[in-house]
Symmetry: D2
């Protein structure tokens, strides 16, 4: 099975660049499963229902997110669907290790039109980030749940985290238990994509799909002003030099073990 | 002028792998200036005088460091030399934005045997790190100082920082004013090396030169135990799968502007 | 029922001052239940079995701790006792919201010699501290457990936390559900002890029992050097000007609701 | 000389309670110098010009602030006055260790109508707070400046900081060099006001002047929702149970050394 994971879509520049590249990358790589991190797709901050629909229209099976998920309030209702739904709204997920009372879900178990089963887990790190539940223990819990429910072997984990240590640690912790642990959140692609010894694909960060003439998506001048003065000021999404960062995982659909990874960084 | 910058050398595995690769990379790329970040070269934590000598023996013109610089106490005395010295100890530098009373220096201005001048600046970030002076203002200060002193145009900045935003921001801030802003500290190489519009080479992190079957250099089991239990325990340097991460910068020696970057990740 | 809670005992100066004052305070206030936070009792960092015994000898029914609990390794074994034990080692507790696999327990349910039941909960905050489980949800869990087990109505919570906001929030969250929420960890007594509207005693921090001519227990010069230079250096417990900080809670033993609090800060 | 320092005025409840108590406390204690921290006086977040005027109308000689100073944009212009002005706007100060390009000043040197000179310094901590310049070195700098300029001996420092360790450390660092180091920011009064050995009055935190049926000023339910879910939501100033927290410092006007401190916590 071929899986394409697209990193944090940032603002309109990010939406534009993924619209341009997803179709041909999916086609030329015979992608079966498409997962997109959309936490910054609405002007850099959060995601709206209509933007989620836009990403689903591009063929996304699942949209993952992260700490920016609650930036746009319209998304609360959209995500409030039954756990056993398979509609689009159910396939927009947020970190699984958030408080149980928050809207939405952190795991989606689905089936491709070919009948092959898959699961996507979204989790958030705790180092240098706001408090949430232990992602290591939560992973154990979710894997047990998947085993009982769908029994899916192909399992993709989007680990939305800041610290390279926490991301690498989760990669090793889940090696041989999931198909891939892919990092998001830092908006910079790392050059360490690999297959860990027990068959799990790993990359510290897939990188954003957004404007690279920016500070991780935001207009340079606005961020510099913040660093230089410490004074507040609205952050606006940049537009210049959009690139799509994505990673392709090739795996055995029966065992869920990965055997190849490939990074993409595609500009205009 | 060709500059090779080697990322955080980690433990004996890191020292072994740079010993293997630096000579041929330097030769085949006609490297003029060699700079090595050595903050983790002594068992993963700090650097000793004898290990510094070992890295200088490999041809390093300057050794940069970071937050681990004080881990080995023997280094305090070694670094306590006159500001105008050009000996090896003077060429082992620490972040320039540390308190003025700390041993050592954060800037070295030197001359290649060809007579070409260069400067190396080491600075540390503040986001998610211990407090230190503002690196943006400190950069302004040091650039003014270089202009007055040696007048070097080739200026390499090792920005030892955690957050991708702070690193990118400094890159843009110094674009056109220095030859390169290269990040260190996260131990994971990023795939975003580029030349910014005004001629400054930039990469968020060069990555470590150390054991990649590890959590950023440390034995996997020890780090996992920490994440899973929160309990203390000595961190030991891992050994497996060493790789040297380095970046080559080609620049115009007269203007100091960069025109090409190349990433290396070389294993056994 | 009269409860005396003694704040973080710090080093030998702290042990000396509590030895001096606990007996007469207990006697003159007819204290029924004595709880001592001992996380810094061994030289300022952790607690050893023999020091725990020393504090139990002073009459402590329960010893609570906090983030320094693992500083002395001898304590791991000491705390590894059966959950249903009532021995001294079982009555030395650590934050309940630590990983389940860590030694010891975070709740103790006991009985006074008069037959009156009580429970002591120890928890740690997450703001500005290392990651641990959600203390709010953990409190809900533990209160349900107490209700099922002993049914104790007198319940004391030692909330070991940094941020005043998190401490105040937990106070309000548990108001009317526990006898007292007393903060520890900052080592400075706060002047806000009160009874919340539903009968829970609250104080943001009880303050340490240790040397007040210090920086929260540590020798002034050592801490100043750290702040001024950022360089490492061993922290030693100070000795000068020891004071015992403690808070007395008077409550109805049948309902567990508090009706009076009194702060103590007793020097030599 | 008698100095009254009033802690962080929070929202309308805070403004109401200081209006009620400042006049009689000033009168009955023969207060010569009145300093108010106003960083939360506008609905809990920042301060506006008209609210600053309101506090000056109450007799404030100087208004200090902290990390909330930029919450209301109207204040930027108000604070942009010449350094040598003695108008009200010049007497509204912000932490001195902010970037030099920010509006306003961090030190005010003035003269009472009696001709006695005084200086007020505002600084912010760095532990658990946003980056700013080193407050220890900045204090040295400002004290040298005061010595050269006005030569004032009576010097009050409002240290707006989170960590008790950093606050205590600055107290000891400045002991014998200033009249008082008073902490603000945590909104909880500490019971450790004292005179340090060399004559400097010290208190870790003066506490807020605002609604105490709250979580450090904010409506309890709103803060609880944040802690329980991690979801965003507007924070509103609470109203209930307002108290004025303030500290009186009695000092020798000629030497600037303090000899007595007294805490106030006055409700309706
Ligand atoms: Fe993102
Ligand atoms: Fe994110
Ligand atoms: Fe490093
Ligand atoms: Fe580092
Ligand atoms: Fe403590
Ligand atoms: Fe503590
Ligand atoms: Fe405040
Ligand atoms: Fe504040």
């Amino acid at each position: 099975m071929n899986i394409l994971f697209v990193g944090d879509v940032f603002g309109s520049a990010g939406r534009h660049i993924v619209r341009e590249h997803i179709p041909h990358v999916v086609e030329s790589n015979a992608v079966d499963l498409l997962v997109i991190n959309g936490e910054n797709s609405a002007g850099g901050f959060g995601i709206t229902p209509s933007i989620a629909e836009e990403l689903f229209d591009l063929g996304a099976h699942v949209i993952t997110t992260g700490n920016h998920i609650w930036d746009k309030k319209e998304i609360f209702d959209y995500m409030s669907v039954p756990a056993d739904s398979h509609g689009r709204a159910r396939r927009l997920i947020r970190p699984a290790n958030y408080a149980v009372t928050t809207p939405g879900f952190g795991l989606y178990e689905g089936e491709l039109s070919s009948g092959e089963k898959y699961a996507v887990i979204n989790m958030q790190g705790r180092v240098f980030m706001n408090s949430c539940d232990d992602p290591f223990r939560k992973a154990d819990e979710l894997l047990a749940q998947i085993e009982k429910n769908s029994g899916a072997k192909v399992i993709l984990v989007d680990f939305h985290a800041e610290a390279t240590s926490e991301k690498a640690a989760l990669g090793w912790y889940l090696d041989g238990r999931v198909t891939a642990v892919l990092g998001t959140h830092t908006h910079v692609p790392t050059a360490d994509n690999r297959i860990l010894p027990n068959g799990t694909a790993y990359q510290t960060d897939v990188g954003m799909s957004g404007p690279f003439d920016s500070v991780i998506g935001v207009e340079v001048e606005l961020v510099l002003k913040r660093f230089l003065t410490g004074m507040p000021g609205k952050f606006e999404a940049a537009k210049g030099n959009p690139k799509m960062c994505a990673t392709l995982i090739e795996c055995d659909g029966n065992t869920g073990r990965a055997f190849r990874t490939q990074r993409f960084m595609l500009g205009e």
